[in-house]
């Protein structure tokens, strides 16, 4: 008995020893360092504007391949680089596995899904906001961003998905909307947004200078209606912008695309970048290197060159010379010595104006200075050029601190003109006045009357190398023979890109495009 007692207490002692350290309370500790949406205090409405700034970050943060995919197919530009997906796309040979297609698709849709997330969060703050209308305005700004990106997506792929929330699970069953439906959706979205936005120029905004206003919404509405060929809708939207009297063309076309032209009175939508005036450190930057000449002798030594991937076409240059364009040609095209020789090899173009030079007016020498060939671009995009003498001291990246103009007042004027010559009516301004206002700034004489040809030519001259405006003009107006040049043949089924393979693998409702 004693022995049993002894073992019992021994056993108890042993167990005590073993479990004395047991400590399960710490298992309820939360994970470190994660800010959860669930933990958001929606009464702190001063945090609501942060979501809007975040939305602008998504808008401005455009990966480099997006712009060329939007615009490479136009007859104003050649992809001079070694990017096979670009050169093939330029030749209207599409492959659904080209990485740039999937990447461009995601660049836009990723923003749209996250914007829905932001709108959903703003709506939660609104319940506590002293002034809920403030939240409505934020949501309206984001809707304009969504509209502009859906427009780009549908121009590229035609029939696409319209996401309606931040939840991706619904997408597997979201039906494909036709291009017409997408454009109507954009137009309606802009109608929802416009009344909630200030009737001022973007650069008049004090909270977010250069941000979205009512006129940006109307501009996107006009662009969507143009794609739908709803010309009256275009004329009404552009007419309202024109009648507001808020906008004017920036008088110096050359500087418009450079530092002095940042947030001008011409700008309806502009992506902002900056080096914050510091010689190094933080910078928000768009990859302008893509467009820059891959050889140059900058006026400010040590300034970085570009990749030489974006070359104005010979067709565009000759078109501009034929029109006796001056500042618009000088601004749009950077010439290399070799490029100039190529123009001159055509006997009709032996005598060129003085500004056709491999030295820009700011003193940067474009291309090689020796007798060697320039391997890639013989010409480079002047619209994406920032003279080295405009770089902040210490900064060397090509185009650092340069903004990207997206929608300009001249596009409003010329869309207005296009709508009117295509059958719409407007009391805001006549087609010929709209065209002549644009011509006047470019130093050209007035036209007495304008036809659709005149308007499209004016757009070609004004918007060369900008956002594929030319390509979509030509396609929309059924003038695709313009695109057949240097061995290219634009086929009937070449308007839209194939859906990216990676997306087809995920979304079975996307049938072959």
């Amino acid at each position: 008995m004693n022995k049993l007692q002894y073992f019992k207490s021994l056993f108890a002692l042993s167990l005590t020893l073993v479990f004395a350290t047991a400590c399960d309370d710490s298992l309820d500790d939360p994970l470190e360092g994660q800010v959860l949406v669930e933990g958001t205090d929606y009464t702190l409405t001063e945090n609501m504007p942060l979501l809007r700034i975040g939305a602008y970050d998504l808008l401005y943060d455009l990966q480099w391949e997006t712009f060329p995919i939007i615009s490479v197919r136009g007859d104003d530009v050649n992809p001079a680089g070694d990017q096979f997906p670009l050169t093939e796309t330029d030749q209207f040979r599409y492959d659904r596995s080209f990485w740039m297609y999937n990447s461009t698709w995601l660049n836009f849709y990723d923003d749209i899904i996250k914007w829905h997330g932001a709108m959903e969060e703003i709506a939660k703050y609104q319940a506590n906001a002293a002034n809920p209308a403030e939240g409505d305005q934020y949501i309206a700004e984001i809707k304009v961003m969504i509209g502009w990106e859906l427009l780009q997506l549908s121009r590229l792929w035609g029939d696409i998905l319209i996401p309606t929330s931040s939840q991706t699970d619904d997408l597997y069953t979201t039906p494909v909307s036709s291009q017409q439906e997408v454009m109507q959706h954009i137009s309606d979205l802009m109608d929802e947004a416009a009344p909630l936005l200030a009737s001022i120029r973007p650069n008049q905004r004090t909270d977010i200078k250069g941000g979205i206003t009512k006129y940006t919404a109307l501009a996107v509405k006009a662009m969507a209606n143009l794609e739908m060929k709803n010309y009256q809708g275009v004329a009404d939207a552009t007419g309202e912008i024109i009648s507001s009297g808020a906008f004017e063309l920036y008088n110096d076309y050359y500087e418009l695309f450079k530092v002095p032209g940042k947030l001008s009175n011409e700008s309806l939508l502009e992506f902002q970048y900056s080096d914050f005036g510091q010689s190094s450190g933080n910078a928000e930057y768009y990859l302008h290197q893509f467009f820059g000449p891959n050889n140059w002798t900058p006026a400010v030594a040590g300034s970085g060159a570009g990749w030489g991937f974006w070359e104005p076409s010979m067709k565009y240059i000759k078109f501009m010379l034929d029109r006796n364009e001056t500042v618009r040609l000088e601004t749009s095209v950077l010439f290399t010595r070799e490029g100039i020789e190529m123009i001159q090899s055509d006997p009709n173009y032996t005598n060129l104006p003085a500004f056709v030079s491999n030295t820009t007016r700011d003193g940067d020498v474009i291309g090689r200075t020796d007798a060697q060939p320039n391997p890639r671009a013989k010409f480079s995009s002047g619209k994406h050029y920032l003279p080295s003498n405009q770089l902040t001291t210490g900064r060397v990246r090509y185009g650092e601190n340069k903004n990207v103009l997206v929608i300009r007042y001249s596009e409003i004027l010329l869309m207005h003109a296009e709508a009117l010559v295509s059958g719409a009516t407007s009391s805001a301004m006549s087609a010929v006045d709209a065209v002549n206002e644009v011509r006047g700034r470019a130093g050209l004489t007035d036209l007495a009357t304008v036809t659709l040809d005149d308007v499209l030519n004016e757009k070609f001259a004004e918007f060369g190398l900008e956002w594929g405006i030319r390509f979509y003009d030509v396609v929309r107006n059924g003038r695709t023979t313009e695109l057949n040049r240097d061995g290219r043949t634009f086929g009937t089924d070449d308007q839209y890109l194939p859906y990216p393979l990676a997306q087809l693998d995920l979304l079975t409702q996307l049938s072959d495009n």
Binding site: L17, S26, Y60, A80, W105, I113, G117, Q372, P373, N374
Partner: protein, 1017 residues
């Protein structure tokens, strides 16, 4: 083992001789005697004494005594007892035969470390492989796990060539897609994710617990296998022994990939038909002149690998240790130094490590023991930019290393390919010269224990506290320079990470034999674990004064002109684990074995807080049965086990949307904003594995042959898988995967001696079938990049390469027209002669996503190794071989052309491109290489990764009892080792060892030749 066995075998011929010399006799003889243990001189009870070739026999009594009537004086007595070397004695004229049995240090009696205790090998029902210090020390490496390559079936080691980098280790395939599926390392009781800090000479043994029944006692940490490491201890009652062990050697790169030379590259570039490429060549001709051999080739022919790579780099290791003990204390102290230079020239690229350790055990009283162990490791790693390997492959050979015309470049006038028109500067010397990356790695491991016998030899209590502290301090510096085109500013980034982990174990061990035949060992205990880690990082640009290799004392963020706000940050994590565990091992008469463990694990990492992990195992030792009488078989055991394991090595998830801070430029002001990330990971539980293992262990022909064979089936459930979401550039993780790894493992060893020559031959092989069982709904999940698709499909291996199957090259137009594609498709896709034929799997006349198939897996289906060792007089020679097959490598180097076309290609490709009808049915034309058609993911990019390697050859000479100039010199061994001297493979790359199967820039795996010295004073 070899020694004891072989000394026994030495006696055999003598015995036989003795037997033959005896006259024949037919009389029965009575023999008696005592059997003693050589270990302690005590009588051995229960020893089987049998007349050879008959059933006549008995067992010794408690005093080790026996008495047996044998048929005649030619009879041979066989004395056998598990755990001791069997002895045979010819009776002859003797009537009293006293025998002393030596403990069998063959694996059977060997003590095997299992979780929270140990077991004898013969009692084990699970699959455990143990590698001893001698085997580990054979391999000149800083990484102990590297030494196991090819030695343990079912253990895949993928070497890493960079100094200080740990190899990838996989136990029985991949059951998890996260954290490299790294096993748990338990070093003297402490948990680690890697043992890269340990000195190989400090390790006494490494035990690989391969199956669930062995590792389940580690519960939620055990799913990827458990590897137990014991560091060296001293010995009781042994005078101090001072041992020096070291080597010095050189590493030299193997199988250096041949890239196209200037001639091949120029031909290729011109053949592409690209005017830009022709212009680059033209520029090079103008700038550098024309080659005298061929005036169409620029007068430059740079061998970039030769320019960046040392022809040899030194490596050395020195360990000094003192071991010994008195009757109540044993100790082991050691200090070691390791240094390995990298293969990159012109940059700091090396690993240096100093380790200190001590281990002491002290018997306070007969029933109370305490001990402790401290291991300190201080490493410094200089990491060469891995991009050097990438650029050395891609840099064009027509670019010189130095270009005197590149006058704008400073401080060095390196050649810059941009000057010729290429997109990038290409020259890898920029990467070698203009940065310096240092990691200081300190690890401190300590554990202390106390052990109390509550009931002597029956119930024991052990408490242990294990502590590890580690810090990684890294500093990456970029120098300012001008590459001739662009001015680069200097920058510095530093980070400091610390982690502090502790484990406290308390457990009881009960050990008793009941009624002479029922042996029970039971363990029950509690373990508490905490893991805390935190870190900060920061950076700045434009150091003043300008940094150089001569002013390292000025490399501080404080001296930068601009602080990079995006480079600042900190992080931390705190994880806790609470575990109750128990183990029960029972055997009846060493014949029937039963085994079970149970662990209840709790943690704060997942929403699922608690989990239970069970295992059961059983074994049957057939050789202990009376009916079993196959004389060739000394020991035969069938064993089986089933168990559950967890893997908490997957990253925890918050399971809800989060907010990211972003910055935007608004009118030149930097403004902060928030972006809602609506997608999120939802991993609310650990991954669970269930495994069944069935095995056979046998020893045959007087233990000359040992056989271990295992079949396993390991299923992982709730595995964290990454789901690519539509429309959003975001992937999310979900606990939705279920995978199977299944295989067969076999290890055979034979050792014997012929005259003075002792030898052993061994081999092992393991098969692996890796398969996706379910994905929680979808039939497949995509992985990898969009261009190089990998796909996990149910019924196929995890993340298999996925694309088109090539079927040769179109030789001419009629070949294209008749291949089976529709004419519309041919026109639309612009197929030309010199392009790939892709198999139209669904025969619909077009090649599209429906024609993609699985092209291969990065996991080998067969791994094998074999070895032999010979000893003669004072010489020892050993050789190890290993290899694997059945796996694929994505030759991402060849795939890079999708993104950058104008760079160099490998020589094999350059030489064998299609140049016209009949020239190649393997590679497309030069122009074709740049076409999207040929760039589609296909088996052109996916190559056979099989290799065979001579892993290690080692020759030693032992000096024992030698005198030099009249003085006895200490026991000395001189060793020459060739590590990885030869690797054979067909893959068009540098190195067939690519952990994830995607070869973009792997560090070459060098061969190492060393001269080693081992001295015992």
């Amino acid at each position: 083992m070899k020694k004891t066995l072989s000394s026994y075998f030495k006696v055999l011929p003598l015995l036989l001789l003795f037997a033959l010399s005896q006259p024949l006799s037919a009389q029965t003889v009575q023999v008696s005697g005592t059997v003693l243990s050589a270990e302690d001189g005590q009588p051995l009870p229960s020893v089987t004494v049998r007349e050879k070739g008959t059933n006549n026999g008995m067992t010794t009594d408690l005093d080790g005594k026996y008495r047996l009537q044998v048929s005649n004086n030619q009879a041979v007595l066989v004395f056998s007892f598990v755990g001791f070397v069997t002895q045979e004695v010819l009776v002859g004229n003797q009537t009293t035969i006293n025998v002393t049995l030596s403990p069998n240090v063959s694996e059977l009696g060997e003590i095997v470390v299992v979780g929270y205790g140990s077991q004898e090998q013969k009692d084990i029902t699970s699959s455990i492989s143990t590698v001893k210090s001698e085997e580990i020390a054979k391999v000149p490496t800083a990484q102990a796990m590297q030494a196991l390559q090819g030695k343990v079936p079912g253990l895949q080691i993928v070497s890493s060539g960079a100094p200080g980098a740990a190899p990838t280790v996989r136990v029985r395939g991949v059951g998890s897609l996260e954290g490299n599926a790294a096993p748990l390392y338990v070093v003297d009781g402490m948990f680690f994710n890697s043992i890269d800090f340990l000195n190989t000479s400090d390790i006494a043994s490494i035990s690989v617990l391969k199956d669930a029944s062995a590792s389940a006692i580690y519960g939620v940490r055990a799913s990827n296998g458990v590897i137990l490491i014991e560091t060296k201890s001293g010995s009781y009652n042994k005078p101090a022994e001072i041992v020096y062990n070291g080597y010095y050697g050189i590493q030299t790169a193997q199988n250096v990939l041949k890239v196209a030379n200037a001639q091949q590259f120029t031909n290729y570039a011109l053949a592409t038909g690209s005017s830009a490429d022709a212009a680059f060549i033209d520029n090079a001709l103008q700038r550098f002149g024309r080659s005298r051999i061929d005036p169409n080739i620029p007068n430059v022919n740079t061998d970039w690998y030769g320019e960046v790579m040392e022809s040899y780099a030194p490596q050395q290791n020195h360990t000094l240790s003192v071991n010994g003990g008195s009757d109540n204390t044993r100790y082991s102290l050691g200090v070691s130094y390791f240094k390995q230079d990298g293969l990159m020239k012109f940059t700091r690229n090396e690993y240096e490590r100093v380790n200190l350790r001590s281990k002491i055990d002290y018997d306070v009283s007969e029933n109370f023991r305490v001990g402790g162990n401290i291991n300190i490791s201080n490493g410094t790693q200089y990491v060469g930019e891995n991009s050097v390997w990438f650029k050395s492959f891609f840099a064009v050979p027509i670019l010189p290393v130095y270009d005197d015309l590149n006058t704008a470049a400073s401080p060095n006038r390196f050649g810059n390919a941009q000057v010729l028109g290429y997109r990038g500067s290409q020259n890898p010397l920029f990467d070698l010269y203009y940065n310096d990356n240092r990691n200081k790695i300190n690890k401190f491991l300590a554990n202390f224990y106390a052990e109390l016998d509550i009931i002597p030899e029956t119930l024991k209590f052990r408490t242990a506290y294990n502590y590890s502290f580690s810090q990684v301090n890294s500093r990456n510096l970029n120098f300012d320079f001008n590459d001739g085109v662009t001015e680069r500013v200097s920058s510095i980034n530093r980070s400091h990470a610390t982690s502090f982990n502790q484990i406290s174990d308390n457990y009881l061990t009960f050990n008793k034999q009941f009624a002479g035949k029922h042996n029970v060992t039971a363990v029950a205990g509690y373990s508490y674990r905490s893991e805390t880690s935190e870190g900060v990082f920061a950076g700045g640009t434009e150091l003043f004064p300008s940094p150089s290799r001569l002013n390292e004392e000025l490399w501080y963020i404080s001296l930068t002109q601009t602080r990079d706000e995006t480079a600042y940050g900190d992080y931390g994590s705190k994880l806790y684990g609470s575990s109750y565990f128990s183990r029960l091992a029972y055997n009846f008469d060493d014949r029937y074995l039963l085994y079970g463990t149970y662990r209840r694990d709790g943690n704060n990492k997942f929403q699922q807080k608690w989990g239970d992990f069970f295992t059961v195992g059983a074994g049957w030792v057939l050789t202990e049965e009376d009916f079993f009488d196959v004389s060739a078989v000394d020991f035969l055991k069938v064993r089986g086990g089933w168990g559950q394991l967890g893997n908490d090595g997957v990253a925890a998830s918050v399971g809800e949307p989060t907010i990211d801070q972003r910055f935007v430029a608004i009118d030149g002001e930097r403004v902060s904003g928030n972006v809602v990330i609506p997608t999120f990971d939802y991993v609310d539980r650990w991954e669970t594995t269930e495994e069944l293992n069935i095995g056979v262990s046998a020893r045959m022909f007087n233990e000359r042959l040992s056989v271990e064979a295992d079949y396993f089936q390991r299923d992982t459930k709730d595995a964290s898988v990454t789901i690519i979401l539509p429309l959003i550039r975001s992937n999310v993780r979900r606990s939705a995967g279920s995978f199977r790894n299944e295989g067969f493992e076999l290890a055979l060893n034979w050792s014997d001696e012929i005259g003075d020559v002792r030898y052993s031959v061994g081999g092992n092989l393991a098969t692996l079938n890796n398969e996706v069982l379910s994905l929680g709904g979808p039939q497949y999940l995509d992985a990898g990049s969009a261009e190089f698709r990998q796909r996990s499909i149910i019924g196929q291996p995890l993340q298999a390469f996925f694309g088109y199957e090539t079927d040769g090259i179109f030789q001419n137009q009629s070949d294209i027209d008749n291949y089976g594609y529709t004419s519309e498709f041919v026109t639309d896709s612009g197929i030309e002669p010199g392009d790939y034929k892709f198999k139209d799997q669904n025969q619909d006349g077009v090649i599209d996503d429906q024609d993609r198939v699985v092209l291969g897996s990065y996991l080998p289906t067969l791994t094998y190794g074999f070895n032999f060792a010979v000893s003669y007089m004072n010489f020892d020679l050993s050789a190890d071989f290993q290899g694997m097959s059945g796996h694929s490598i994505l030759n991402r180097k060849r795939g890079e052309i999708i993104f950058t076309t104008d760079t160099n290609i490998d020589a094999e490709l350059a030489e064998n491109l299609w140049t016209g009808e009949g020239t190649s049915n393997k590679y497309p034309s030069a122009a074709g290489l740049r076409k999207g058609w040929n760039q589609s993911m296909s088996d052109y990019f996916v190559e056979d990764g099989s290799y065979f390697r001579i892993q290690n050859i080692r020759l030693s000479y032992n000096l024992i009892n030698q005198t030099v100039l009249g003085t006895e010199i200490p026991e000395t061994r001189i060793t020459f080792t060739a590590e990885k001297p030869l690797t054979l493979f067909n893959y068009n790359g540098f190195n067939p060892e690519v952990a994830n199967g995607i070869d973009r820039q792997t560090y070459p795996i060098p061969a190492v030749y060393t001269l080693g010295l081992n001295i015992k004073f």
